[in-house]
Structures are given as structure tokens and as C-alpha cells.
């Protein structure tokens, strides 16, 4: 079986800056891959590249068997880390979640009962039933995040990319979200998710990638947790918190993940 995502020596640059330096990994159907790493380690860049939003500079990348930008409409659903949409846009919660169906509909097709059902299920999954008529202007930050996750679920994609979807979401919703994602994964959906929450990785993911511009480690979350790579990130996040932006990657980590600074 061909992997859902197949990356070999993947390099992504922003002008002269190398954000991803030779990433090699595969993602298979029915697998949830977690990506951890300090701020600026390239997690979002990796997701954007797979989504076809950022072009790679070199290396190989196949997504669902084709070039990232050539996958069939509606097959990739993406929840970005920061939603830079206009919150005064005239739309309700329902309207936004229903947009998830649009890539799957040819323009001559009506928004049919099946689309409404998928939209309703997605709202249910993020515990937003009953709020569907709320204008999005009136949502709290956590509710906004849930709406965007619901939109991705409504799309019923072949690959789900989540960039820190639990940031700002309360514990109950996070658990609910995890159950939904785990259920989808069990049903065969591949998922890649960036996160900073190192304490819950074992319950979310089948495999864990430690990223710091390079792939420092990838494997079973428990094995990775026992490796030095994980510890170096832990160390880092514990001593510096999550707030450092534009963190310069530690070359030493990349070469000797077991060495602590």
C-alpha cells in the first residue's frame, strides 16, 4: 500500500531561510502522527507544505499519491494555527462549518441532505450543536477554534492536518475532540497534528515526530519519549515556555539529540 504522505529529504525555504532541512518520513492510512518541537522548528511549515500552501525547495513529497497541489478537490482538510479571517464577516457558525462541504461539491450540485447531515455531525463532534445560528462575530476564542475544527471534519477529507487545534480549547472539548479524531483514525483517516502538549501525546498519536528543522526522532510516542530527542525538547519548553518565537534551531540537538544544553 502506498503511504498517504511520502517525504524524502524534504527541504523548504523561505527566501534564504531553511525552515525544513531534509525531512524524511512516511504516513500511512489509519495513522495519527503527532509533531512536536519548539517554536520556529518548522511544524506549521511542514503542514503547509503537505497542504500545498508552501512550495518545497527540493526533495521528494507525495501526498495521497500525487504532487501536493494536484490532489483531488476536498481531499485535504487543514486547520491552521492562526486563523486570519475577518471576524466581522456576515456568517453564522453553520455557514462556516458548511463551507467545509464546498470543495466536495461541483458548482452545479445543490447543497443536499447529505451535506447538511455532515455539517450537523461535525458540529456535534465539537459540541457546538445549539450554537449553529450564532453569528461568528459573537464567538469566544475557543468556540472559534472549534468551528474551524468542525469545518475540517465536515469536509470528510482523506487527510486531516491540524495545527495546534487544542490551543485555547477547554479540557472537556479537548477530550471530546480527541475522541472524535481517534475514532476517525480508527476508521482509516490519516491525521497529522502539531502540538505543544507533551503530556497527552501518547493518548493522541500512534507515532510521534520530534522536529527541529530536521526530524530528530520519529516513532512510537513512548519510545520517542524515552529517547534524548524528546527530552531535549522537554527541557527546552520547560525552561523557555512556549512563547519563544523565531527560535534558532540547535545544530547540536540535530546531531546529538541525546546531549542536553
Amino acid at each position: 500500500m502506498t503511504p498517504v504522505v511520502h517525504a524524502r529529504d524534504l527541504v523548504v525555504r523561505y527566501d534564504d531561510f531553511v525552515a525544513l532541512d531534509g525531512a524524511t518520513f512516511d504516513l500511512n492510512a489509519g495513522e495519527a502522527l503527532g509533531v512536536v518541537g519548539p517554536n520556529g522548528s518548522g511544524k506549521s511549515t511542514l503542514l503547509k507544505t503537505i497542504a500545498g500552501l508552501v512550495a518545497r525547495s527540493s526533495g521528494e513529497l507525495r501526498v495521497l499519491g500525487s504532487e501536493p497541489r494536484r490532489v483531488a478537490m476536498g481531499s485535504i482538510a487543514y486547520v491552521p494555527q492562526v486563523e486570519s479571517v475577518d471576524w466581522s464577516f456576515p456568517a453564522t457558525v453553520w455557514d462556516v462549518v458548511a463551507m467545509g462541504r464546498f470543495p466536495r461539491l461541483q458548482f452545479w450540485h445543490r447543497f443536499a441532505a447529505a451535506d447538511r447531515a455532515a455539517t450537523a455531525r461535525a458540529l456535534e463532534a465539537v459540541k457546538m450543536r445549539g450554537l449553529e445560528h450564532r453569528p461568528i462575530t459573537e464567538l469566544s476564542g475557543g468556540q472559534q477554534q472549534r468551528v474551524f475544527v468542525a469545518r475540517a471534519l465536515a469536509q470528510e477529507p482523506q487527510l486531516l492536518l491540524l495545527d495546534e487545534p487544542t490551543t485555547g480549547v477547554d479540557a472537556t472539548t479537548e477530550r471530546a475532540l480527541r475522541d472524535v479524531v481517534r475514532n476517525l483514525v480508527r476508521g482509516g483517516l490519516p491525521v497529522i497534528m502539531a502540538t505543544h502538549d507533551l503530556d497527552t501525546v501518547e493518548s493522541w498519536f500512534d507515532r510521534l515526530m520530534v522536529l527541529d528543522r530536521r526530524v530528530l526522532a520519529i516513532g512510537n510516542p513512548r519510545d520517542v519519549a524515552d529517547s534524548g530527542a524528546y527530552a531535549s525538547i522537554r527541557e527546552h519548553t520547560h525552561t523557555h515556555g512556549h512563547l519563544r518565537i523565531d527560535h534558532a534551531p540547535h545544530e547540536a540537538h540535530a546531531l546529538h539529540p541525546e546531549i542536553h544544553p
Binding site: M73, Y78, P103
Partner: protein
Amino acid sequence: MTALLVPFHYPFMQRAAIAALAVGVLCSAMGTYVILRRLAFIGDGIAHASFAGIVIAYMRDANYYLGAAVVAVLTALGIGFVHRRGRISMDTSIGVLFTGAFALGVFLMSRQSNYAVDLQSFLFGDILAVQPNDLKIIVGLAALVAVALLVLYRGLLYTTFDPVVAQAGGIHAGVYEYVLLVLVALTVIIGLQSVGIVLVAALLVTPAAAAYQLTKRFAPMFALSMLFGAVSSLGGLYLSYYARGSSGATIVLVTTVLFFLALGLRSLRQSAARRTVHVSSPAASK
């Protein structure tokens, strides 16, 4: 009753009414996307840019409409291209492109020794002078743009709200942006002759802005905007007949009045909502 319809007994008024309705509805439909994408000045910009097209058409003895349309569409595509390539905001890109195109028009005109185009009527519009042939062009182009808007509805809506996520889902946000710009360019050209530069810019913004005051959903906003566009253009034309004033200006005045009525209605609703909250929550009054 029939006395009320007296102005529309004249064929030129009938043509004017059809043209006004087509332009009013079309501009206000486009206007929904224009204001939600924060492109309020695009109408003004493209209209000015098309001036270069008129001058070039005059020099080559070609159809003014065609010249204006070609330059308008090229400017629209250029605005999209400069915005993407130059990583500058759309309004900056509009500012760069339209002044450049307008200057080209002025330059070319200044080199003509005997320029005799009736620019006045093109730039400021004269809906009462719409000829049967003009009407065919207006209605034909309006129908074309309307069909495009209907067919592309979902993609335009999604890419207007969230181009990045739409793109990840496989909807080409960039293509939609270019298509929208071209549709705006065509709409401006349709509107130029009937209501003129400043007025077409108003019809692209004000009815949609009025609709935005009254609803928090996209589809009703779209419908209300078109309704306001229709009411202003027909109503303005009708009033201008009795007021003996410029029809284009009257149309825009009507749409401006509608906007302030909508704004007033919204403020009334808001203060009513605030009162209800006070009544229903005793805690707030303590």
C-alpha cells in the same frame, strides 16, 4: 396609477430604466464581494484606468467601449498580479496600477492636437442617452457577469472568507481572485456609460454597505444589497425626472439615503436589544 408611470412612457426613459436596473443590480451584487474583500476603491480605480483605453480607442478609431473594457480588464489582472508578486496589500496595488493607467491616458491625450471625444458623458455618464445598441451591450454583459456570479458562488464565498483554508481544500483562491477582479472590471465598464465614474464606485459600495447593517449572514446580505441597488437605480431615475436633476447623481443620492436609513435601523435595534437585556437581568440593575 398610470399617472405615476408617466415618465416611463418615453422610449428613452424605458431604455434608461432597463439600463439602470441592470447596472444597479449588478454593481450591488458585485459590491457584496467588493466590501467583504475590502476593495472599496477598486471601482473608482478601474474606472479611472479605463480612461487610457478610451484615448487609445480614439487614436485608433476603434470602439470606445471596447478600448475601455480591454484596459479595465488588463488593469484588473495587473492589480491581482502586483498584489501577489509584490506581497503588497490589494489597495496599495490598486493605487499603483490605476494611477499609472490614468496617467498613460492623460499623456496620450495631451499629445493629441484635436481631441474631440465626448469624454464628459463617458466619465460622468448619461443614462438618458442610452441607445438601443448600448442597451444590448449592457444587458448582455450584465447577464454574463450574473451567470458567472451564480456559477462561482460557493468558491467566491469561501475564498473571500478564508482563502488559505479554501486553497488547502483544493479551491484555487488565486484563480477566484483574478476572476473576481475581471468581473469587477466588466461591471465598472457596464456602469460607466450609465452612471459614470464616481457613481459606479458608489453603486459598488453603498448598497452592500447598507445591506451589511441589516443582516449577519451572507446570503441575505447579497439579496438585500441587490434589492437596494435596484430600488436606488429605478427610484433615482424616477425622482430625477421630476427633480430635473442629473439622473446618475440622483441614483447615488437615493442609495446614500438608503444606507443611512439602514444604519439608523440598526442603531435602533441595538438600543432595543440593550434595553431588553437590562429588563431581563435584574442583577445588572443592582
